[in-house]
Amino acid sequence: MTARHTLAARIAKHRWHYLFLTPMVVLFVGFTAWPMLASWWYAFFDWDGLGPPTSWVGLANFSEVLGSPAFWNAFKNSFLFSLVAVGVQMPLTLLFAILLNNPRLRGRNLYRLFLFLPVVTTTAVVGIVFAVMLDPAGGFVNEILTGVGLLPEPVNFLGSDRTALATVLVIDLWKGFGITLIYWLAALQTIPPDVYEAAKVDGATARQVLRHITVPMLVPIATVILLLTFQSSMNPFDLIQATTKGGPNYATDVVATYIYRYAFDPQMAAPRYGFACAAGVVFGMCTLLLTLLQAPLLRRRYLKASG
């Protein structure tokens, strides 16, 4: 009774806080929590997405997903996108951010603008433009490369299963470069100028400043940037749809396009929403696991960096 009274009193006391929280909670439950829970439920049914699911199949969908080489191929490709984002894009953007953070660099705002432009460019347009640019028959990239003698013959960048994945990885890197750059630039702004001035007075070289001041002071924010980059890189659906649609021979298939094929592709006479949900759940769990695996390491780095 007392506890309830206390709870009621606390709610009454913080009623405005709860009221302000309500929109977010309602939206979160309606558009995030509910779809997640529902997809778990649907994954246990052989369901085509219409009417209530009735054909219970237990773990059959999960078993089919886990035993599907096509799913693991898509998973591997999705993971490669993350690997490139974390292993290549993050360090490269950090390098550019450090350069562009230098107040002595003339026109740095212009460079920032140019690097950020791909982020705000529509992916469908990016897909079309790259398809034209990389066309093996007359595309200007091949024309230049063969013209200057770098290539003996045109490369089928998006049409060969040997080069398609690498090509879309590069396009994805180019498109996402600006946003990670902005994260790093924001992080660099948090380092007080006094520290750099002190280092300068002490005679530190640029390399020493980078190694002993910039990088250590960026680590706490870097963990957040890492997680953001990792999460956003796991879903290159729009880029793949706009360039290769997962082909050729599923060389660029990612989990999102795999799921789309089973749930929404008009070529599928009978959509398999239940199966698609199971694929989504398995992928979600794997992503969660990969994210959690990073946590202890990141936590150690974070605690060390923040003293």
Partner: protein
Amino acid sequence: MSDRPLSRRALLRGLGAGAALGAAASVSSCSLVGSPRPASKESSGKVRLTIAIVPDPSGASEFYRRQFDRFTQKTGITVNVVENPTEQQLNAVELMFQQNNPPDVFRCQGPDALDRFSSRGWTAALDEYATSSGIPARFPEDALLPRTSGLHRNGKLMSLPLVSGQWSSGGFLVYNKGLLAKGGFTRPPETSEEYEAYARTITAKGGGKFFGAALSSARPSDVNALQAQAGPYSIGSGIDLRTGKVAFSDSSLVDQVELIRRMQSAKIFQPGWESWDGARVFTEFAKERVAFYIGGGWHVNEIKKLNPSLDFGVATVPIPASGRGSYYGQGSAFAPLWSMSAKTKHPDEAWKLMDFLVSEEFQKAYFDMFRTFTAMEGTWREARDLSGPEKGIIAAFDASIRRAPSPSTDGGPGVQRLMADKSAKPDLAHGDSSLLAITRNRDFAPMAKELDVKLDAFLEQDIAKISATELKVSRADLTYSDWDPLQNWKPAA
């Protein structure tokens, strides 16, 4: 009213309360979308129908609007158009039904789509309306027979067509006369051997500027097009309907994959097709980069729009040098397109709209605008303004398409279910394997054998599964021993 100025805290409270109420209302409204929509009678008493269409081909939005305005002038019935992107149409209309807000009439294109909608009881039976309006007389004799029309489900007329049956059943070779001449040829290739030889010569002469041939898209339909001229068309989907046996290993299929694989490995095709969408091939053709390719009916008008001065023609798809082994199989009189909702509040008015969509006026206007051969043959077959390529399409279709059996159309409910189950398994089609063979230069025959084993096992398993229900199906339902692929097929009475 108080004169006290609004404090910052009070303002924030107000905004917070408003946002909370707004969000809650917007989310809770999700549960309201399932409530029946209000009757669509306007305040003036006139009926307002909703039709769900796709804005395809280009210019269709304006065309439909003009046509529906004419319909309104004649009938007083207003038409509200809901447009969905082609790829999203089925999902969008399904959602409209689920939310109890279905369109009165909707575009439900293709047999699979009609299966999906009719099996859920969402399409209205049109038999009585059609008979009283004299619809059968508008089409060739026997075209609306329930077993072979392609528009019936469970013996009921569930759809009306937009295009002719041939238009949706076959393709043809589109060729550039100038590029053929550059290769030293005065006519298009007539056999698959010529197809390869001509293409090889022209590609060599093009030196990377133009090519002898191109494949139709990233998932090319060329293999099946060539296969249908060499052997029974059903082998393209893995079953020889003459025997009811699996047949991916049949030479009529294996030979065509090998032909394309050989040409691909010799770099004869225009490169890059592996990532092309369906529109790219005719765009490249219009740019005079390809001498010939196997295309579909709607390509011709698009080519003319892109390059009005291009001198090109249309011919039949090449056949084997040993002679024609079969034809494109036309499994039904028509492909379904327009359906009327079983839940419409205004069935009589909705029927008037359906009737309008298969009227001579509409079908003629559609042909005039898009040059698509519509379901009413009289609107285009004898048209005075037919272009050379259009005459070529008519000749090519007449020469290369024959009526053929199709269990999905003329079979019983059990075999229809079996076919639907099969088409829901993309790994039981040869598309992935043949593409792998072509792009990686691998031998297709072992892959075909593997596919045969898989399909055979699936058929046995699914037949047993379906037979355990109230439906009945057996291998005999896949066997049409009376079918001669070189003749028009008609089901026994």
